[in-house]
């Protein structure tokens, strides 16, 4: 779809088309965020033997998040007097923009993909790092010790866990011989990388939960220690932007996990009559469910445990995975 548009001659109509496609994707993501929050609250509720939201919008609380968002948008927008005004205003934008930018490289189905970049995987990791700057800027500009502590924790955590995250996917890159996400999906036509790289999947899942700042790695916004972390001083739609960035990353990270380890839109053998979009949706939803499940199950780590776990357990395991993968590839090549 996009490929045809990219190859057509430039015109105002084509530019408008690109804009419309972008807006449509934004709407899809916003819809996901709305119902991901509801799903999270519902699943958490069931796991803790509660009902979860069940008042607004029927028995299942289908309009609960919509009402919450409406409330957020109507809230008074406060900026603390001693805050650094320009930075305070721009920080949520810096945090959110990369979250939407990374979606561009994710091939959702065979036909719905936006940019087919040669270094797609690296692009995702590089761009998502910019969000940390937004979080740090927000925490610093708030001029609040809890916000600063939260943002420092967030930056330390993101740097520490980005390394095992990158190292764990090197095995896949070695097996595929490409950083292009479309090539990675094509490589998994018969066997998904989940079965070829189980150790990498394990490391990737842990590191991605840490990158998303979700429980058990939610130290940056540990409610019981830091009030709310880096966004203490934010309210209204600025706060909503930080929250939105977090859930858009959930969308992007779950998509990336699906693409890298579960074969993206590729069907399970003998079931190819079911369209790719359905397969992607099923795999994607199960990844999101696992993320919520992890949140309901594990207690929060301590800051020192977090660091030593990242550097002393995950990183050596990721290196071991690369080592084993290269040995296996060489053995296969020599026979």
């Amino acid at each position: 779809m996009i490929q045809n548009m990219l190859e057509s001659t430039p015109s105002y109509l084509q530019t408008g088309g690109f804009f419309l496609v972008g807006v449509a994707m934004l709407m899809v993501v916003l819809g996901f965020v709305t119902y991901a929050i509801l799903a999270e609250r519902k699943v958490l509720g069931f796991m803790q033997l509660r009902h979860g939201p069940n008042r607004v919008g029927g028995r299942f609380g289908l309009l609960q998040t919509v009402a919450d968002i409406l409330k957020l948008l109507l809230k008074e927008d406060t900026i603390p007097r001693d805050a650094d005004r320009p930075l305070f205003i721009i920080a949520p934008v810096i945090a959110f923009a990369p979250a939407f930018l990374v979606i561009a490289v994710l091939p959702l189905t065979e036909r719905i993909s936006f940019a087919n970049i040669g270094v797609g995987l690296l692009y995702y990791i590089a761009i998502s790092g910019i969000t940390t700057i937004g979080i740090l800027a927000g925490g610093w500009a708030s001029n609040n010790k809890y916000a600063l502590l939260g943002s420092m924790r967030s930056a330390a955590q993101m740097i520490s866990y980005e390394i095992p995250l990158v190292m764990s996917v090197i095995g896949i890159v070695l097996l595929t011989g490409s950083l292009n996400l479309n090539d990675i999906i094509a490589e998994q036509q018969s066997v998904a990388f989940l079965f070829k790289q189980p150790l990498a999947f394990f490391i990737f899942l842990i590191a991605s939960v840490a990158e998303l700042n979700r429980t058990p790695f939610d130290l940056p916004e540990a409610e019981s220690e830091l009030v709310a972390g880096y966004h203490v001083e934010y309210s209204g739609f600025r706060w909503a932007f930080f929250m939105l960035a977090e859930y858009v990353y959930l969308f992007a990270m779950a998509s990336l996990t699906t693409i890298l380890f579960l074969g993206g839109w590729q069907a399970i053998p003998y079931l190819t009559f079911i369209p790719g979009a359905v397969w992607f949706g099923l795999k994607f939803i199960s990844v999101v469910f696992v993320m919520i499940w992890i949140r309901a199950t594990f207690p929060r780590l301590r800051a020192d445990q977090l660091m030593s776990f990242g550097w002393k357990v995950l990183l050596p395991l990721a290196l071991l995975n690369i080592f084993l993968t290269t040995i296996v590839i060489e053995l296969f090549r020599s026979f």
Partner: protein, 172 residues
């Protein structure tokens, strides 16, 4: 005006604006933000030159890692202090230096010939870089890794020394 020129002008404006803001802002953290803007602009230039791998690594290393480490340094040392303004005499000397540098560079660049432009660089860009690194440039590449290792060992030594001092301090 071609599309390429338009993109170049936009990226040029972003990069130069970042640089100028970096020099003119007074708070250190604002300077860092301006620096990020410059790094991103430079990454855009790399994409224009069909060096997509270098562009992404530029964002990953400079805009991501190095900036955050610098921010750490800044936040853990100064908090609200702003830099003092420099005097006019010093500014004049610096300005003359810049003008001289510009004239020399301009004279040197004007007649330079870069040879025919390579137009197949974007084909398997990452693979080409990898092959070059591990064949023609393997010795410099290994030397760089030795330098990194030395830096790593140095950091460990420094960190260890601090810890020992603290323990001694506690005992005495």
């Amino acid at each position: 005006m071609t599309g390429e020129l338009l993109v170049f002008i936009v990226l040029f404006l972003i990069t130069i604006t970042g640089g100028l803001l970096m020099l003119n802002l007074t708070k250190v953290i604002h300077m860092m933000m301006a620096l990020v803007l410059t790094f991103l602009g430079i990454a855009g230039f790399y994409i224009m030159l069909s060096a997509e791998f270098v562009a992404v690594v530029q964002i990953l290393i400079y805009s991501g890692a190095i900036t955050i480490i610098m921010l750490f340094g800044i936040m853990l040392t100064k908090h609200t202090e702003a830099e003092p303004k420099t005097g006019w005499a010093k500014k004049g000397v610096v300005f003359t230096g810049i003008v001289l540098f510009f004239l020399i560079m301009f004279k040197g660049i004007r007649t330079i010939s870069l040879g025919p432009q390579a137009d197949d660089l974007h084909v398997n860009n990452t693979e080409q870089i990898g092959i070059m690194l591990y064949t023609d440039y393997v010795i410099p590449f290994e030397l760089v890794s030795v330098v990194l290792l030395v830096a790593l060992v140095g950091a460990v030594v420094l960190a260890k020394k601090d810890e020992k001092d603290e323990k001694e301090g506690e005992q005495s």
